[in-house]
Symmetry: C2
Subunit: 350 residues, 2 copies
């Protein structure tokens, strides 16, 4: 549990129980105690209606709507935990749609026997991540399954955002000539999880890159509007799989230049030791932007002004050649096809 | 597996795999195959954007927003399965907010080894339930956990509905004198699950009452408007726990007349055999309406015109006496306090 942060700012209230039991999911007194004295108290805001079946939200429209269940193992990892990951992950999916994240739902599936201290730390992380990003948890659900029928905590977050007026993010807008920008160094999240799972120790800790990306996204949409053609965050399957999906759906080719792809030296070294291609390693705090060629350098420069995107770089372009395929020019000059991830590189990464 | 319905209308496509594997959650080729040839193909609609991180919805507010994770065991039960339960459950939570359900997200946590035929049957039920209720599945997520780290299938559905113009559903509107209406016979869902778990056989099958309730709800809101003060569906914890929550939050007393509470004879008999109080048994297709006294009989009569509410009845009233407590007059005339469910009666009922 070396990766758990202490919740000094939000000490756990005194409760009648130390661990989660089946009765916490039964809908009776213990469910109510867990919610009233734990979840609702901590996450309280003016829209979180703790005593109804849902929230009523003043929205006007069009909205983005996205869902993600998080099953990452371990639940505490270098640089974060499943709670902030669940908040940031759905915020980022909303951002990739070209929306401003506003409201999240939060649903837990807890395994019987989960220590309440661990659940509390996750709740505190959820509170802090949602406050930091300016989104509100407005409705939720808590279920409990028997020991051995779950794995500590699974979290679903589903999000609503309002569309940014200048956003026009669609696969149909991806055209030959467009530049591909990576918003930051790749592969940190997957390697951080791998290191803790395999008990590896690197010279310095490699931390997950989990972070909200809606601010840099809103910034480039505001500044470059329709020059931003598509946004995707390369989580499961990594940069390679996401670019393959884009190439397939856009029916164009994608050309990458390996030496332009930003990657931290530590992460690169860890990938070499582990025999992993960083293009297939999951990211949580990186996005890919497909942008009009003439705006590309300015978009990358704008992104680099944000510490979350300090290493933003143009890494390739959309091409007419080899439609539906991703081709990379390697560091030593050869070209090879980069396929979608086959099989499973690293399970339960998010 | 005697409770599985065959999906004759939607035969399963020929796939390269018979069971769910970890790679189906890896974000690569197998994830894509499962989604493209399975989920998206079956659930296809004009808003389900199969290749982005979320859906963009034309909505004008205010909206209701609600989430529920379903962990019911077994996943196939008399009268339904986890798929239609997940659709109907969230539809009903939206209805209880006084909204018209429009859009659902759908997130699976699958256990490695799940037979594809079982997953397919669940998908078909989801398709059928959503079509029947007129809601669209617009975005989703699929994760896979190792065998022994989940339990076949967990489903999260999160829903969006637009508020019905005449709805004014709030706990603050619950007043002494209000009538309490049960929309139909209680306790069928819990008993159906209990029977299959315990291997009990009753004279005739007791089926789960899982069904969408938004039509009868919209009907009484349209007809009686502000006379409908509060709506709640008594799922986990049953009628007793939900009425205790209402009494606590409204700070009034609740008085029930046991002989007025509709219950099927078979279900009542099963409760007696199992030693269960039907007031604590979960429902999935019943709601409680707290309505103005002068409208109560008309609301109940209107509900009874709908086959889903054939046994709707006034079962009690809100009172000034014994604030925050629920008191029942039993069939033989005595009075007793009905507390919130203590502990856990029947785990994983939804």
């Amino acid at each position: 549990m070396g990766n758990r942060k202490m919740s000094l700012s939000c000490p756990m209230p005194k409760l009648d129980f130390d661990t989660i039991t089946m009765a916490h999911g039964g809908g009776g007194t213990l469910t109510n105690q867990l919610l009233e004295q734990g979840v609702f108290k901590l996450l309280k805001n003016d829209l979180l209606d703790s005593h109804h079946d849902g929230a009523v939200l003043p929205i006007s429209g069009p909205i983005a709507f996205t869902t993600d269940s998080f099953v990452i193992s371990p639940i505490f990892f270098p640089g974060g935990n499943i709670g902030e990951l669940a908040v940031n992950g759905t915020i980022n999916d909303l951002a990739m749609c070209g929306s401003k994240p506003l409201h999240l739902s939060l649903a837990f599936i807890l395994e019987e026997g989960l220590p309440m201290t661990e659940f509390w730390d996750i709740l505190v992380s959820i509170k802090e991540a949602s406050e930091k990003a300016g989104v509100q948890i407005v409705t939720g659900d808590t279920k409990v399954v028997e020991h051995g029928k779950g794995d500590k905590v699974f979290i679903n977050t589903t999000g609503i955002g309002t569309m940014l007026p200048k956003a026009d993010i669609r696969i149909q807008r991806v055209q030959p000539g467009d530049a591909i920008i990576a918003s930051n160094c790749i592969a940190a999240h997957g390697i951080s999880i791998m290191s803790v799972r395999e008990g590896l120790e690197f010279e310095s800790d490699i931390l997950s890159d989990t972070r909200p990306l809606h601010c840099p996204v809103a910034n480039i949409i505001e500044k470059f509007g329709p020059d931003i053609h598509l946004l995707k965050d390369p989580t499961r399957g990594g940069v390679a799989s996401v670019l393959n999906e884009i190439a397939r759906d856009a029916r164009h080719g994608i050309y990458l230049d390996e030496k332009l792809i930003p990657i931290d030296d530590q992460v690169k070294g860890a990938c070499e030791i582990l025999g992993l291609d960083p293009l297939y390693v999951a990211n949580e705090g990186v996005f890919l932007a497909i942008v009009a060629a003439n705006a590309a350098d300015d978009v990358a420069a704008t992104l680099r002004e944000d510490p979350a995107c300090a290493h933003a770089a143009v890494i390739g372009r959309v091409v007419e050649d080899h439609p539906t395929q991703v081709v990379i020019r390697s560091g030593i000059g050869g070209k090879r096809i980069v396929n979608m991830l086959v099989g499973q590189q690293l399970p339960r990464i998010c």
